[in-house]
């Protein structure tokens, strides 16, 4: 290596100015703080409603690793196939639309797990799931409520869903943290 050039490079690196942070970083942080508070509140109410069985909220989009989901035995599942696999009771989710999960304390569980950037992506016919990294465009999507219909073969879901989900949807909507929509947030992400 050219020693003189190396010295020059070291000098450049030493004096290199900081990169400007992207615009809106501060507002996104504040937004997320608000959302955590909101998720905590809604999670607590859902937990109470579910008699302690539902311990938190779980996000579907980035949650391809189901072992994590089972450690948080509730229930944000926007994808009915995943719901069936998880054998979850309350198949209703509060979603921020990709990239973030909150447990019952409002802690963003994505940041604690390597599956954070995985997506379970329904194909256009809704039958296949494609795993892959989410790259961009997944932040700052409005809240959505994902709503999975009862799955044959999952008796727990069949039994608990109708009454509970209706109340949950009302709760979430009343809390003002969500728009109610028929699809999973994965649709919005992709």
């Amino acid at each position: 290596m050219n020693e003189q050039a190396d010295r020059t490079l070291r000098q450049l690196l030493r004096n290199l100015p900081e990169r400007p942070a992207p615009a809106g970083l501060e507002s996104r942080v504040l937004q997320q703080l608000e959302r955590r508070r909101g998720h905590c509140m809604v999670a607590a109410r859902i937990r109470a409603l579910a008699g302690g069985r539902a311990r938190g909220l779980h996000h579907d989009v980035c949650r391809a690793d189901w072992r994590v989901a089972t450690r948080h035995p509730v229930v944000h599942v926007g994808d009915r196939r995943m719901a069936a696999s998880l054998r979850l009771g309350a198949v209703v989710g509060l979603s921020r639309g990709g990239g973030y999960c909150f447990d019952h304390r409002g802690i963003d569980t994505d940041r604690a797990h390597p599956s954070a950037k995985l997506a379970l992506r329904p194909s256009s016919d809704g039958r296949r799931a494609i795993r892959g990294p989410i790259r961009t465009g997944y932040r700052c999507v409005p809240h959505a409520v994902s709503f999975a219909t009862p799955t044959p073969g999952n008796s727990m879901t069949m039994r608990t869903l109708p009454g509970l989900s209706a109340v949950l949807l009302l709760l979430v909507a009343a809390a003002g943290h969500a728009d109610i929509g028929p699809s999973t947030s994965a649709d919005r992400v992709f």
Binding site: M1, R10, L12, L13, L16, E18, R111, P114, R135, R139
Partner: protein
């Protein structure tokens, strides 16, 4: 937050080599800072705390990603330009990038950093931007001291090559 956001973002972006991930890390850093707002507010070492948390979070993220996406990373690293090849030895003038303004120079260097392989970029950034001693870098990255030194040296050599290429390209525009 305004006072530190450039520093936090820069640290994360230069380590991660990926702006989207750096933004995520920066968000997470400030969320943690808000959790500890009472202590940090009065602390004279808030900047240092933020920098350390940023570095650790970025490295954690990179470690997780490396484990998970080892296969993809290896494929990506089979790039067109083999930066580690000992055969590549560009002649670089000592007037490196002097024709450029400070902002343009920063952009070129940041862009070049992004193209370094991770095992060179990490120790190089920790050494040159975080002023971390070799030994600490070795511990942090879980590699030998000799490897840290070699990677930093090779990283700088690769960076020079990349800067020369991008500098020439810009000049010819």
């Amino acid at each position: 937050m305004r006072a530190y956001q450039d520093m936090v973002f820069s640290t994360a972006a230069r380590l991660a080599g990926d702006d989207a991930q750096a933004e995520d890390v920066a968000q997470e850093v400030f969320l943690r800072a808000y959790e500890q707002f009472a202590q940090l507010r009065a602390s004279a070492t808030a900047g240092g705390w933020l920098k350390t948390v940023t570095t650790n979070l970025t490295l954690n993220y990179l470690t997780r990603r490396r484990r998970r996406w080892r296969l993809f990373s290896e494929m990506a690293e089979d790039g067109i330009l083999d930066l580690e090849s000992p055969g590549i030895e560009w002649e670089v003038q000592d007037t490196l990038l002097t024709n450029f303004g400070a902002e343009q120079r920063r952009r070129l260097i940041d862009e070049a950093l992004r193209h370094l392989p991770q095992h060179q970029r990490l120790p190089l950034v920790l050494y040159h931007f975080d002023d971390m001693p070799y030994q600490d870098i070795a511990v942090k990255l879980g590699v030998s001291l000799a490897k840290v030194k070699t990677d930093i040296r090779r990283g700088r050599a690769a960076l020079l090559s990349l800067l020369r290429i991008s500098g020439l390209r810009r000049e010819s525009l």
